[in-house]
């Protein structure tokens, strides 16, 4: 009997930019369609895709359109002054340009609940848009607190108008920062909190929600968390399905070691934010360093992101 080789990859699509619209100061919305007009893969609120913009230039953007519209995806991109190249490249794109897209995938899943508090900061509104549409459709109680630098910098304000007073706009130059202590001050057992925005907002929401029930807060980071790697030690990793045992040196990732041994692993951002390399843990104590898993998921020790996370002990056994 011969050996069956198995190759795993994420879905990749060559799409066409159908439209580029200025939606607010510094933000463009990009519509992506299949060149043959065909249906795009299905996705759910909170999902994001990778745009493959060139060698080593891969960026994640949340889908902000209607999941029921299978002919079109919309992303929105803020031109950042300290851009690492992604947003600048996208702001130069025009209708008709081709773009290669990987995904979608979703690590910011909108769990069913009777009530939600949505908190968005700036361009962090993008995954929240399809979420509130779903919350509305499911008959849940919800509110959106949307902060931005100035009113003109805040994208999709027109689209939000139809929700009336469920949406509170907080332009910083007029009203100051989002008043998180008031918004999230009193934990409510049936309410889930979904937040996306710049790191300081995410950190503030996380700290304000410390008194909320475990599992109530869901947030999505698009910037990797700072991790002190100075004390990293080597450890042993076992890729159980492949029948391979290897040492992960202090200065290399499990992901890199898996690749060295021709173990098929999926990866994209390689900095713990996209969730592509999520792997089941069979044995061992994980040192989680990603920005994807919440505290409950970390404590369950069932899965890990092998691009950044390591081992607290001397040995990890993974389902690879």
């Amino acid at each position: 009997m011969g050996v069956t080789e198995t190759v795993v990859r994420e879905a990749e699509l060559d799409l066409t930019i159908a439209a580029v619209d200025d939606v607010s100061e510094g933000v463009v919305a990009i519509d992506l369609v299949s060149p043959d007009g065909g249906e795009l893969p299905s996705w759910t609120p909170g999902a994001h895709v990778d745009l493959l913009l060139g060698d080593d230039l891969v960026r994640q953007y949340s889908l902000s359109s209607d999941p029921a519209d299978r002919t079109r995806w919309r992303i929105a991109v803020l031109l950042t002054p300290d851009s690492r190249g992604g947003s600048k490249r996208i702001h130069e794109m025009r209708a008709g340009d081709p773009v290669r897209v990987r995904g979608p995938r979703n690590h910011f899943v909108l769990a069913a609940a009777p009530a939600y508090e949505f908190v968005a900061g700036g361009i962090g509104i993008t995954p929240i848009l399809p979420m509130i549409a779903e919350a509305e459709a499911s008959g849940a109680r919800w509110r959106l607190h949307y902060g931005g630098r100035t009113r003109t910098s805040m994208a999709f304000v027109d689209e939000l108008a139809r929700y009336g007073d469920k949406v509170t706009l907080v332009p910083q130059d007029e009203l100051g920062h989002l008043d998180l202590a008031t918004i999230l001050g009193a934990p409510s057992p049936e309410t889930l909190v979904y937040c996306c925005g710049p790191t300081p907002l995410l950190d503030a929401v996380e700290s304000t929600c410390s008194t909320w029930p475990s599992g109530a807060l869901h947030l999505e980071r698009f910037t990797a968390q700072e991790v002190d790697t100075s004390g990293d030690q080597p450890f042993t990793v076992v890729f159980q399905r492949s029948g391979i045992e290897a040492v992960v040196p202090a200065d290399r990732s499990i992901f890199a070691v898996a690749r060295d041994h021709d173990v098929t692993v999926l990866g994209s951002c390689l900095e713990g934010i996209c969730g592509t390399c999520e792997t089941e843990v069979l044995e061992g104590d994980v040192d989680h360093r990603d920005s994807v898993l919440d505290d409950d998921e970390r404590e369950s020790n069932e899965v890990m992101m092998i691009c950044v996370s390591r081992c607290r002990g001397s040995r990890l056994v993974l389902d690879l």
């Binding site: 198995t6 190759v7 069913a112 089941e280």
Partner: protein, 352 residues
């Protein structure tokens, strides 16, 4: 997020309520109410006066008598014990003993969809159903395709059926007659493609002689060599589709891509039994004789699968769950489990 890794997954892979599940074949649903059980819920299905499917909780809110034992009147259904009448939205519209309908009296109404010759229901939060489509299954409805199939209940957890469909390597061992002969010597590599909601896995077989039954229905010489391509797809927790293309060459008029679709609707009944409806569709050899050749072979194969899964379930029930060893070829199975975990999280399941 529900536990799958630590506690022995045989009994712990949760099927999400927020998904579409086939509840009955279209032709089985009419003006007579039909009873079904989906994810441990009693469901009654019938057609309203315009032929649209209605699915309600199958338990009168007054008497606990199954509505499926009552009768359909117009768009409504009357309980055969209490006489309570329910509208297609599940609300009580009249009761026999008083004018006033008790406030809030209702049973759950499930969103329905009719596609591919099945009636599907959405047991989750109703408002979400409209935002989630079910992939089209045109081969099951189009006159260009000939379809046969069957359905039964497998006494095994639905995740065992999933594992079976995600693994295209076991066919060699379970049913050498159905398996391409080339598998025994040089199995081609499997390519697994993962997206947020779907997993596909396929392989391309080099030109080689076909299985005897394939050569027979395609009317090609048994020793003629043809390329084949197999692609399986997890499209939803309750829907799997395998596609099989055979490239017929050097046979004159009969040349071209001959395609078979194997559609499987799997619906968890409870955590020990699963409704399995299978359909085999083809765009070639439309004769009843070809169906007569293929049908017993495939029925026999799927019955073998059912027997194997029931045996596995017996072992797990007798000796307790245990985590199975996986191999590299299980990549599709692992990817499907990952999506299932995600969908369970979406259902709102929280760690205990």
């Amino acid at each position: 997020m529900t536990s799958t890794a630590r506690s022995g997954r045989r009994s712990t892979v949760d099927f999400p309520l927020g998904s579409w599940y086939a509840v009955a074949a279209s032709e089985a649903v009419g003006r007579q109410p039909v009873a079904a059980r989906v994810l441990d819920r009693r469901v009654v299905v019938y057609r309203d006066s315009r032929g649209g499917p209605v699915a309600l909780e199958d338990r009168c809110c007054h008497s606990s008598y199954p509505l499926s034992l009552g009768r359909v009147e117009g768009d409504d259904i009357r309980c055969g014990y209490s006489g309570f009448v329910y509208g297609p939205d599940g609300k009580v519209v009249s009761v026999p003993t008083q004018e006033q309908v008790p406030v809030g009296a209702a049973v759950t109404a499930y969103p329905t969809k009719e596609q591919g010759g099945f009636v599907w229901i959405w047991p989750g939060v109703a408002g979400r159903a409209a935002l989630r489509d079910l992939p089209p299954l045109p081969w099951l409805a189009s006159p260009d395709w000939v379809t046969f199939g069957g359905s039964w209940v497998t006494r095994a957890h639905a995740s065992l059926l999933q594992d079976n469909f995600a693994d295209i390597t076991h066919i060699t061992h379970l049913d050498p007659v159905a398996a391409p002969p080339v598998l025994a010597s040089q199995p081609p590599p499997i390519t697994v493609t993962v997206s947020e909601m779907t997993v596909t896995f396929g392989r391309t077989y080099p030109a080689a002689p076909l299985q005897a039954w394939q050569a027979e229905v395609l009317e090609v010489p048994v020793d003629s060599e043809h390329e084949q391509r197999e692609e399986g797809a997890f499209l939803a927790p309750g829907l799997w589709v395998d596609r099989w293309d055979i490239e017929v060459k050097d046979q004159g008029d009969r040349d071209g891509t001959k395609t078979l679709y194997f559609t499987h609707a799997i619906t968890p009944v409870d955590d020990r039994s699963t409704a399995h409806a299978w359909r085999v569709s083809r765009n070639f050899a439309p004769s009843p004789a070809a169906t007569g050749t293929m049908e017993p072979l495939l029925r026999d194969y799927y019955l073998k699968v059912r027997g194997a899964l029931e045996t596995i379930q017996d072992v797990v029930d007798t000796d307790g769950p245990r985590r199975d060893v996986t191999v590299r070829a299980d990549a599709a199975k692992v990817a499907v489990r990952k999506i299932m975990r995600r969908l369970a999280a979406e259902d709102g399941a929280r760690p205990a």
